[in-house]
Symmetry: C3
Subunit: 290 residues, 3 copies
Amino acid sequence: MSSEFSRLIMGVWRIGDWAMRPAEVADLIEACLDLGIDTFDLADIYNGYQCEAMFGAALATRPALKPRLKLISKCGIALVTPARPQHRVKHYNTSRAHIIASAEHSLQAIGVEQLDLLLIHRPDPLMDADEVAEAFAALKQAGKVKAFGVSNFLPHQFELLQSRLAEPLVANQIEISLLHTAPLFDGSLDLAQRQRTMPQAWSPLGGGRLSSTPAESALGRVLQRLGDELHATPEQLAIAWLLRHPARIHPVVGSGKLQRIRELVAAQNLALDRQQWFELLEAAMGREMP
Amino acid sequence: MSSEFSRLIMGVWRIGDWAMRPAEVADLIEACLDLGIDTFDLADIYNGYQCEAMFGAALATRPALKPRLKLISKCGIALVTPARPQHRVKHYNTSRAHIIASAEHSLQAIGVEQLDLLLIHRPDPLMDADEVAEAFAALKQAGKVKAFGVSNFLPHQFELLQSRLAEPLVANQIEISLLHTAPLFDGSLDLAQRQRTMPQAWSPLGGGRLSSTPAESALGRVLQRLGDELHATPEQLAIAWLLRHPARIHPVVGSGKLQRIRELVAAQNLALDRQQWFELLEAAMGREMP
Amino acid sequence: MSSEFSRLIMGVWRIGDWAMRPAEVADLIEACLDLGIDTFDLADIYNGYQCEAMFGAALATRPALKPRLKLISKCGIALVTPARPQHRVKHYNTSRAHIIASAEHSLQAIGVEQLDLLLIHRPDPLMDADEVAEAFAALKQAGKVKAFGVSNFLPHQFELLQSRLAEPLVANQIEISLLHTAPLFDGSLDLAQRQRTMPQAWSPLGGGRLSSTPAESALGRVLQRLGDELHATPEQLAIAWLLRHPARIHPVVGSGKLQRIRELVAAQNLALDRQQWFELLEAAMGREMP
């Protein structure tokens, strides 16, 4: 297994909405692999803590797929949900015991022996970085997780955890899109580039808001014009805009529709030049660069 | 003298309001020692520049207490007050000469030969870090101050000063409480944990505002419920909430009433679990974690 | 040529407004040198991309001045202007090719063989720090630029670029003045002092707004009173206020009027004490220090 993740990552968090039988999910996974997407993004809490078991059920119908996949999971958020009746309040848990138990539960639910990447899902104000380091070391030592990263961490949170680890954190999965440009300016992407950490972009299409961008808005007009020039959909432009960034952003795309995934894969061939990139940014922000 | 400060620190800034004779203050100091509080927090400017002399007058009535105490003082703020007629405007002074003169004045006023910890009281926009380093080195060399720290410093201010010092800053005394949660998120506690610097919390009870939290507010309700469950006062919960943080926060409690101090000392035995901690945080912030 | 720049830097960005013939500009340059100002600040884009050619035309009338000058230029901004018809949108360009081409164009326009300092004009969200490092190395190697810096960079942007360079960035030219005090508090000057980077202050007089500060405002009153005490103009006080800072701020003054430059040069002899400095700061901010 190479140390590289595919540039586009398939997000599985909406698996409960796909309304597919396990074998159909397996078809979708195989189709993604054929399109060059070999990395799948899960988390303990997705779909009411059922996402990993549903993904595992799909893999169980076609076990030969397993060695072809790279699997990301996450832990650290505790939701109030019928599946966890002991939770009274939404909270975070980055204790050693919880991280290890959650990762082991993910492996069992998915039906594999190793995660390629385990992320701490949210910066926990109660994080004891030494405990997290112990949990990571134990999971690595046991062969249960290959590499570690974080999600939604700001630079100072990233640097705290990194300071206790022998190996570099390999990823920070954050919200970045034309509809959420803050990480371009708040230091997140600067630190990622500096540390050569992989930024992964969740909601790269603004959680669906991109599709509903009014045609007469500044962004709508630029998307229309560039789309005409480059023969591209707004979604393709939004993905190409992320891919153009020098920090090597890996968008997490989360559709259950193969045709849509194919469209987004094709966006990898769309090369935006600097002016096109800035036209999109300035239209999205509603102001010129200073 | 051990290098450890007691987990609770006795704040002496309100000594002028205690309305006690020196021998009564000495009684209070001795009672604190018997309760395990051996660290006392002073500053040149407290009580109109009179706090240290009043504390010193108390010690003079019972000199045997002196070797049992650990003393913190601060310098760097210049107040407009009749005691300093040369001050026209509130300002900061972190010049070499001022730091040394202020520390020497503190020693004389308290009547001891060494401070255990000297803090720069506020980040001074005119701070010349090399000058501060010279002052610290001179005071250390002369045996007048054992260790150094800061107060109210943000991470970038801390890192500037640290960059010029041969030894680590040992403390940053900042405002942290259920009524001031910013340091959990702005990098202050992350840097403290990363550098293993002791955070000291001033106004750990919100400067009295905790006691007046309306019973029907979100925070009031959680304090009531947890208080009932754990047989604890709101003040005890607020201290236990600080003590639960992995950065090892040292609350500075500032009461002249022994019964109240006893209550807060007892909060050290109150173990909040993660959910209780987050219930308090979310009620205090008025929103769920993301 | 010494490695030091004069403490005051002559800003040439308004050269188009000076309404001077080349020989008159040469007179002004020579007069600045006689006043001890040997450093001149230009940029590719100033005056509709014509500033450097106009400055070069002046030097062409008196080539003996050239070896006495230290020259700063900048690149990285792309303006929409008739002089650059290919630009559809204001954008930034920190590609290797653009940096090298822009610096070479600056040399040709000015008519010199080396820039003393080349700055990246704005933090570019598309900056590939490795590419910038390659451009800097190529320009240095070719003897075309002696040293490198940035402008308007926040600390995280500065640290990203620095992480890829073999030599320290020597300057960050940012807006600092009594009318723009943010860099005193946002970490910019702390990082400059920590890294011993030269801060250069653009608009040190608030872009003319200082002169129109109402006499009855808090700042107006302090400027009046201190001006009377110290026999100084508001502009001189504003420059002296910058010079007092320990980070060794180098103000970029941009007048075409020799008398005015003489006045500002004289401000270097004006020593503000701490209270005067804080009186100005607090009046400018409209509040006391905490």
